[in-house]
């Protein structure tokens, strides 16, 4: 724990709200096919919860829990999941992102395989959007200065 800089009320409410916010982002992700939502919206909500953490605790505390290297790795990981599902379909004999081909690997019929493939792609989108949003926010906050700049004690 770094030195206190925030406000007790804001910190308490942030601690209370952030888990629900992240749970809600996963809900939006999982219901993307039947209601408004999906990977992009879920990722934005997840990033918003981390922004709330920064507002309450400062960037130094967030960097301690979620270092910038991890953010960049997650950016790449999400794109990798997306492309991996796409190329897997390609290698199984279909087109790029032709999810029904996944039924050759999964123990389901092509229609359900399409659902699972979409869900996997949405997970990748969510991870990338969350990480990119956090990277943009941190860059804006520090004026592009990386570790320097507003580090939570201003």
């Amino acid at each position: 724990m770094t030195e206190r800089w925030g406000d007790l009320i804001v910190e308490t409410i942030a601690r209370l709200l952030v888990p629900f916010q992240q749970l809600y982002s996963l809900y939006v992700l999982a219901h993307g096919h039947s209601s408004p939502g999906g990977g992009f919206q879920g990722g934005c909500i997840f990033a918003a919860s981390l922004v709330l953490l920064i507002v309450a605790y400062g960037t130094r505390e967030l960097r301690r829990r979620f270092p910038e290297r991890a953010i960049l790795v997650l950016c790449a990981l999400g794109v990798f999941i997306y492309a991996a599902v796409g190329w897997l379909c390609l290698f199984l004999g279909g087109n790029f992102l032709d999810y029904s081909q996944l039924s050759k690997l999964l123990p389901t019929d092509p229609i359900m395989a399409r659902y699972y493939g979409m869900a996997a792609v949405e997970v990748g989108v969510q991870i990338t959007v969350m990480a990119i949003m956090m990277a943009i926010f941190l860059e804006l906050l520090t004026g592009g200065g990386g570790q320097k700049g507003c580090s939570g004690n201003s």
Binding site: D7, F20, V55
Partner: protein, 118 residues
């Protein structure tokens, strides 16, 4: 019956929203405006969402309707946690930034507290 109750709640909520807007437009400075917005807006939203949940419940009870009403009430709960906190954070940062409340004769209501704290 349920619809009449819903209309009652939503009208009360709209009254509070109207009060909040009048306060935002007519009060003299930042603190009193946030005072009007933070309180009356929260109350108006709670009443409006309660009315919407009641309207959603309708006449016959069923699980799907009750579930949607429960989700609407969840919005109310989280707004009730988040909205006043945002108001508090805004007001506190304005006060720590050195903005003094408005007074009729233009005098500061108190000495700037930062010198004592630090």
């Amino acid at each position: 019956m349920m619809e009449a109750l819903a209309v009652l709640f939503i009208s009360a909520g709209l009254f509070f929203f109207f009060t909040a807007t009048v306060g935002l437009l007519r009060l003299p400075d930042f603190y009193s405006r946030m005072h009007a917005m933070g309180k009356a807006d929260t109350m108006g939203l709670l009443l409006t969402l309660t009315g919407l949940a009641l309207y959603q419940m309708g006449e016959g009870l069923s699980w799907s309707k009750a579930f949607v009403a429960f989700k609407i009430l969840l919005i109310a709960v989280f707004w009730f946690l988040g909205g006043p906190t945002a108001t508090h954070a805004l007001l506190r940062s304005a006060f720590e930034g050195g903005k003094m409340p408005w007074t009729k004769d233009g005098q500061a209501v108190l000495d700037w507290p930062r010198q004592e704290e630090r």
